[in-house]
């Protein structure tokens, strides 16, 4: 168990910290938001991130990646979380890239992984069909037609769906609505005929899309993994996504908390800094404790991934649930402690709260993961 970073990882953290603070500060998110940027993130910045190796962090050197591994990725995501940096890290690296790594055949790997690592290919996972995460509730149909398939259905909350070059679509090839078996993943060019993509504007100023598939044709070569066996891949991919999101949320809560502690020291009321009021002190100390606990959870979840431990699913649910709860507590408390100023768009704390809520429900809310944890743990 490695709950501390090694030297290489520390170096990566320092690089990432400097990069996000200088190149992708919160001001950048505001700029994207206020200019109603069509992409929703900065493509040039994404190329810079790729140049630093962030895009290929989970990809082996053979395919042009840096292979820093999950802990390395977590380190980068935590720093991205601190500045609320918008990027395709979740959609393309955590989800799309992992799916191709795990399930892609030699051809698919060769075709996509180097492009991903180079920051030249954007992916999106078209999974959800309702307002709550539910990876086995798949009604989008892929009907076999000779050696081809015809895909029809509707997906929502597809992260970066409106800019992705390729979509990974979870569709049902057999079984009933909620069966774990019978789900197949397809890797489609986003421009394929019959695909209609509508961008959604989320409260965190990031991207998601609703996508309809109307009799979209897919060949055998576009199946990712095995027919009907998509859930095994999805489970692993989603756990990577969940742990990565937890790492991002760790950075987010840490930064929101640090900003608030500073504010408590500066802001005066009744002639003294508000941080001298014991009630606020205790609440701040409780938050500190929760964040320290979260840090350990995230580090261990990343380590579980890195060491391919068999408790990855358990740790993914623990990390996602714990971070969602702590992010809610911390952002609510921090907003309240900022008083009226926290309610203004001018202050950053509201942005942290908005991102915290979206990240919390992405790939499963705290409720979802507590339930899953209990099931995985056998009770």
């Amino acid at each position: 168990m490695a709950l501390v970073l090694n030297e290489e990882q520390q170096l990566l953290r320092d690089t990432a910290m400097q990069f996000f603070q200088e190149r992708a500060p919160i001001a950048q998110l505001r700029k994207l938001r206020d200019s109603k940027d069509a992409t929703g993130f900065d493509r040039a910045l994404w190329r810079e991130m790729a140049n630093l190796g962030f895009a290929g962090i989970l990809i082996s050197e053979k395919y042009g990646g840096t292979d820093f591994g999950p802990i390395g990725l977590g380190v980068v995501l935590e720093q991205a979380g601190r500045t609320l940096a918008a990027s395709p890290l979740v959609s393309t690296v955590l989800l799309g890239g992992s799916a191709i790594q795990l399930a892609g055949n030699a051809t698919q790997r060769q075709e996509y992984l180097p492009a991903i690592a180079a920051g030249e290919c954007l992916l999106a996972l078209a999974l959800e069909e309702g307002p709550h995460h539910n990876p086995t509730h798949i009604t989008t149909k892929a009907e076999a037609e000779g050696s081809n398939f015809r895909i029809s259905g509707e997906k929502v909350f597809v992260l970066d769906g409106h800019v992705a070059d390729y979509l990974i679509v979870a569709a049902r090839t057999s079984g009933k609505e909620n069966d774990r078996n019978g789900i197949t993943l397809f890797l489609l060019d986003a421009k394929t005929k019959g695909i209609t993509i509508t961008r959604s504007h989320m409260v965190d100023s990031r991207n998601a899309a609703s996508i309809t598939f109307d009799n979209v044709e897919a060949g055998n070569a576009q199946v990712l993994g095995s027919v009907d066996g998509g859930s095994d891949v999805l489970d692993q991919v989603l756990d990577i996504g969940r742990i990565g999101l937890a790492a991002e949320m760790l950075g987010l809560v840490q930064e929101a908390f640090d900003k608030t502690v500073e504010y408590l020291k500066e802001r005066k009321q009744f002639g003294v800094p508000i941080g001298s009021f014991q009630a606020l002190k205790h609440r701040a100390a409780v938050m500190f404790a929760e964040i320290e606990i979260c840090r350990s959870v995230v580090l261990d979840a990343l380590t579980a991934l890195e060491e391919r431990r068999n408790d990855v699913p358990l740790m993914a649910s623990l990390a996602k649930a714990r971070l969602a709860e702590t992010a809610r507590l911390v952002t609510n408390e921090c907003l309240q402690m900022h008083g009226g100023m926290g309610m203004t768009d001018q202050f950053d704390i509201g942005l942290f709260m908005k991102r915290a809520r979206v990240a919390a429900v992405t790939l499963g809310s705290a409720d979802y993961h507590r339930d899953r944890y209990a099931s995985l743990d056998g009770f």
């Binding site: 709550h132 009321q269 609510n332 309240q336 009226g340 309610m343």
Partner: protein, 397 residues
């Protein structure tokens, strides 16, 4: 037929004749009849309705007729309310002048001030805003620094206010200013002045919800006639406190929407719609179902407490201590309700605009963001708890 029945009969007939049909429909926010010099009337009926009501003084039914009010007694005013409710009439006037300033003027202003300002409030001719908070003084309201100097024939005001609701749209302001720097509470005065005065600037503040109902308001060498001081010099804090209590009561009521979720029906209906139900018709997520039950129980318990407090006051029983918790409890409850709604709606509660979200869903998102301010405005939760600890429990400083 007794006098009240006659009054009801006449009122009903008058309303029937004077309330335009479009004023008996739910009011879209943009048609709110704020009045004022620059009033917009996207629906001209709003103006007609206001003028009709104002002509009888019924925008302020219980104010004396000499100040333009309706001069109704309590029973008559209740009947008017009932009859307005019966036909689902919209309010004829939305006004801080009616809700806040008017009662203060009636109690503390001199005769000339009342005759000057109250009739214009009743008729919706002047739209007022409230200049209380300052950037440096949040919970410590009395720490305000906006300077008001006596220049012989006028006052000179310099300083800055914040959280001035609709200052950018208001005609006049009622404002707390510092007239004595050597004392804290006893150095504050209550001043009225025209927002069109030279040296006044109001800049809207964008809030996290995207709306901009509040302004930062700057005063640079603003000259104010001396007759615009309400009450005695340096005694403005008394007036301010009275107004604040009123504001707190309004905010407390927010916790009462125990089960509502805007156009989506109650929390439990929304949960069934967004989560589905199990075989026995229960909300499919047991964890969510339990939290909804908790929330509904708390909402019911809170409204029972408001009712008890009123009954106690009426019966002359009880200490009235329960009322000290209303602001704290009501606003915390409201915040919890919106967090729960977010859990119920999932990703559909996290949209900002555009395709993919129903208006009702977007309203939840914005209202959730707005709700965070409840426990800050009108006295933070922390201040409320301080007050309970000190005044009710008698805990030492």
């Amino acid at each position: 037929m007794d006098a009240l029945e006659t009054f009801r009969q006449e009122t009903r007939e008058w309303l029937e004749a004077n309330c335009p049909p479009s004023m008996r429909t739910p009011m879209p926010e943009e048609e709110s009849p704020w009045g004022g010099r620059n009033a917009q009337w996207p629906n001209p009926d709003s103006k007609k309705w206001l003028d009709a009501m104002a002509s009888r003084g019924w925008t302020a039914p219980t104010w004396p007729m000499i100040y333009g009010g309706g001069g109704l007694n309590k029973d008559e005013a209740r009947i008017l309310q009932q009859e307005l409710g019966r036909i689902k009439a919209r309010p004829a006037l939305t006004s801080f002048g009616i809700w806040m300033l008017g009662p203060a003027l009636l109690e503390y202003a001199n005769e000339e001030q009342k005759l000057e300002h109250l009739p214009k409030i009743v008729r919706g001719e002047i739209r007022w805003c409230q200049g209380y908070s300052e950037p440096g003084a949040g919970s410590d309201l009395a720490g305000l620094q906006t300077k008001c100097e006596d220049k012989g024939d006028h006052y000179l005001v310099n300083g800055q206010k914040i959280w001035t609701s609709y200052a950018d749209k208001a005609d006049w302001i009622f404002c707390l200013v510092r007239t004595d720097t050597s004392k804290k509470h006893d150095g504050i005065s209550f001043l009225l002045f025209d927002m069109a005065s030279e040296g006044v600037e109001a800049r809207p503040i964008t809030m996290i919800s995207g709306a901009s109902p509040f302004c930062e308001t700057f005063f640079t060498d603003v000259k104010v006639p001396k007759e615009n001081l309400v009450g005695e010099l340096n005694k403005g804090w008394t007036i301010a406190k009275r107004l604040l209590q009123h504001e707190r009561d309004m905010i407390s009521g927010m916790g009462l929407g125990g089960g509502s979720a805007g156009g989506l029906g109650g929390l439990e209906k929304a949960a069934k719609d967004y989560y589905g139900t199990d075989g026995e018709g229960r909300v499919a997520s047991p964890a969510l179902r339990e939290r909804i039950a908790q929330q509904k129980m708390d909402g019911r318990a809170f409204s029972l407490t408001l009712a008890r407090s009123m009954q106690e006051a009426k019966a002359g029983q009880g200490s009235g201590a329960a009322s000290s918790i209303f602001k704290y409890y009501g606003t915390e409850l409201n915040k919890r309700r919106y967090e729960l709604l977010l859990d119920v709606l999932g990703t559909q509660a996290l949209g900002w605009e555009g395709d993919g979200f129903k208006q009702d869903e977007l309203d939840v998102t914005r209202s959730w963001l707005r709700s965070k301010g409840n426990s800050i405005e009108g006295g933070t939760s922390e201040v409320q708890l301080n007050v309970v600890a000190k005044r009710v429990l008698g805990l030492p400083d």
